[in-house]
Amino acid sequence: MTLTYPFLAGKPTILVSVECLLSGKTYIIPMLIDTGCDETSFPAHCAATFGHNNNDRRVKKTWCSGVGGRSRSYLHSVQVSLLHPGLARHSIAWTSHLPKAAFIENLHCTFGLLGMDIINEWKSLLLKKTRRGRRIVIRL
């Protein structure tokens, strides 16, 4: 299956469905396709949107590093799904096997990051320029 998405706000960003595996709540959130990111991540403050508390003692905590330096990250049980880009109604095209994502303290951006852990589940990823603008082509 091939899914073709337009760029969002001029960046290789797609709207994805993110489900909290604890509460079952689902949100649609923009995520940047980031091949420089090992793990799918969100800014730490986004955990509150899912009703999660980063300070709860049951939340697993790790460290990560990046351009901004070393930062605390909190692992929460969320699952990412791709929306079908070609249908006339809301529909899920694919769901990742990963049951968790990192919520990073020093990540100051306004979107999530689709990292290599999810990109590796796809057959290929292509960014291409078309007459109708830039497109993200994902083969599953």
Binding site: Y5, P6, L8, A9, G10, K11, T13, L15, S17, T26, Y27, I28, I29, P30, L32, D34, G36, C37, D38, E39, S41, H45, C46, A48, T49, G51, T62, W63, C64, S65, G66, V67, R70, S73, L83, H84, P85, G86, L87, A88, R89, H90, S91, A102, I104, L107, C109, T110, F111, L113, G115
Partner: protein
Amino acid sequence: MSYYEQLVKHVERSMNRHPSSTVVMDSDTFKVLATGKSAKTLARRLRKVKGAQGIPVVFQRISDNAVWILTQRIP
């Protein structure tokens, strides 16, 4: 136009209309349900939102500035 293309169009329009806020939009009706300056206030408002038919779409304006992102887990 597909559903996804319509959703992108409405999200981009709302990003420009509320440039400094986090916005919650209904995925079925494309109506803005709530806006908030911080994630905490928005999380509170999200709980009070009634009458949403679809899935909430949560987003902020994506900056035009260049973005450098690289994250790596420290074992």
